[in-house]
Amino acid sequence: MERIVQILLITAAVLMIIQGFLHRRKHEKDHSHSSFGHKHDGSVFSIDFYAYASRLRTWSPKYKAVFSMVCLLCCIICDNIYVSCAVILLMAYITVVMGGLPFRRYLSLMTIPLVFLFFGCVAIAIGFSGSPSGDFNLHLGFFYVYTSKESLWETLELITKALGAVSSMYMLTLSTPASEIIAVLRGIHMPKLLVELMNMIYRYIFLLMDTQCRMKNAAVSRLGYCDFKTSCVSFGQIASNLLVVSLKKGNAYYHALEARCYDGELRFLEEEKTVSAMQTAGALLSVSLLLCIWRLTV
């Protein structure tokens, strides 16, 4: 039984990579997503950009949030390497093939958690001792670095579990703009203050980045970053300037809010996106597939 599941997973992986590749080729040809934006740099901002460009944006954010949470819980509760792999593949499929995110971008976004996982897991997988022990060991002068098949397997399980969880969250964030995620949080009765703060911070991060960028360019153009010492001084000045500018602007923002009858609560029109029967069926199918894999391999 285990063999079958293994083969299935590997085939799925290969198919997905091929399809993703083909899709990307097609995508590059029609170049449909160059319609807006030019900010591909800076990972946080690129995540924001991809969320707006994703084809899954029309899906209900509640549906996506619930689905990704369920998959994440599957990963954690089942604690099974095959389930985790299936979740990783499923999420990659949804994000890359259905959402239209370039595969290369997905991989490069995935490397961020991968690096952390790698260093975290090295510590779990290997041990040090004075005498040779374990299944594999390496003699380094006066001590041995060793590891065993079991601990390697355990590490692999841990990595896949964590990656499965991360890719579930990626599926949500790479297909849902922050404003919609915040709306979902409002829906589950998160404290109002927090929700409004998130809304404001999200909007003002971009303004602040913009101002910072302009100040930095102005400093660079006057040789403010020519060597390390000058760079430090310029950086400090920009930071303090940014604070002053934000304080001043705060007033203007508040006036603009008040001018439109702001009474202490931010209210926006939120669209209601409906969940289609197909989507419900898809989610149920995926979850039952995960549960099947679990039953078959436990």
Binding site: P177, I182, F206, A252, H255, E258, A259, R260, C261
Partner: protein, 283 residues
């Protein structure tokens, strides 16, 4: 004929009356030193004056954001107090100079819905108003975009749609052309023309004398917290003292026309042309 129209306008209902309005941000310096102004239904008013003359402060006062101890504001004959300030905010809309400091939401649609939502309208009404304002400003395709991926001109359009969706009686534009390229400035002028055709009451602060001369029917000049002139454009721009005091320039059209008249190239009895089309008729 222009005089007739002016008289007609004089008979229109006064929406807003400002009497001896004074305002100081801090104790030392007054930003407004006693301003009197009547705004009538359907007027197109250009507000001029150098930086720091008090234009923006005045706008914030007649919108009710800033409240002064000294001076009175009447909206349709009713004196505004702290309690009725929301009437002012509902009926006087300001398009702020800097679109970025006005836009707060993270999509165009929710941004435009902010004002109507605050008016406590029903969901459907809010939706209708947002749809209408977006199509008015040609923004329907941008509905779900976040403001940080919009260009300057598009942001300006969003900030105008914000105000249109609230259906105010008076729309104020605070230096709208300041950060716009020529194409967007033309777009803005078209929108203003359209609004004026619909009989909306519009007030614009600007440094562009040519624009004020061809667009406005009334020019109000601020200088150091006071109104030093309030008249038809021709009268204001022909007044040397006002021009000098407020550091204004004379509109190009006016200069050209007067030079040509001096040289006898046009007939004296023709009325002053406002734009190039009218100018062509004169010669």
């Amino acid at each position: 004929m222009a005089v007739n129209r002016l008289i007609e306008k004089m008979e229109q209902e006064v929406i807003l009356q400002v009497r001896d309005l004074q305002y100081a941000y801090s104790d030392e310096k007054m930003a407004l030193k006693g301003v009197d102004l009547d705004i009538r239904q359907g007027e197109r008013i250009a507000v001029m004056g150098s930086n720091g003359a008090g234009k923006s402060t005045f706008f914030l006062n007649i919108n009710g954001v800033l409240q002064s101890e000294h001076g009175e504001i009447f909206y349709r004959g009713q004196k505004m107090t702290k309690k009725t300030m929301n009437d002012l905010r509902k009926n006087v809309g300001i398009v702020f100079q800097d679109a970025d400091s006005q836009i707060i939401a993270s999509t165009v649609q929710s941004e435009v819905s902010f004002g109507p939502m605050n008016l406590k309208l029903s969901r459907n009404d809010v939706r209708d108003r947002v749809d209408e304002a977006l199509s008015y400003m040609n923004l329907t395709d941008f509905r779900h975009r976040p403001p940080h991926y919009l260009s300057g001109g598009e942001k300006k359009r969003v900030s105008i749609a914000d105000i249109i969706a609230m259906h105010p009686e008076i729309i104020i534009f605070d230096e709208p052309t300041a950060a716009l390229d020529p194409v967007n400035a033309d777009m803005l002028e078209e929108v203003l023309e359209k609004m004026a055709q619909e009989g909306k009451t519009i007030m614009i602060s600007t440094h562009d004398v040519d624009f004020a001369y061809r667009w406005a029917e009334r020019v109000v000049v601020f200088c150091d917290g006071k109104i030093i002139a309030d008249d038809a454009p021709l009268a204001v721009f022909s007044n040397e003292t006002v021009i000098r005091q407020a550091n204004l320039k004379r509109p190009m059209m006016l200069d050209i026309f007067e030079t040509m008249r001096e040289k006898g190239l046009v007939k004296d009895d023709r009325s002053y042309p406002k734009n190039v089309e009218e100018f062509k008729y004169c010669i």
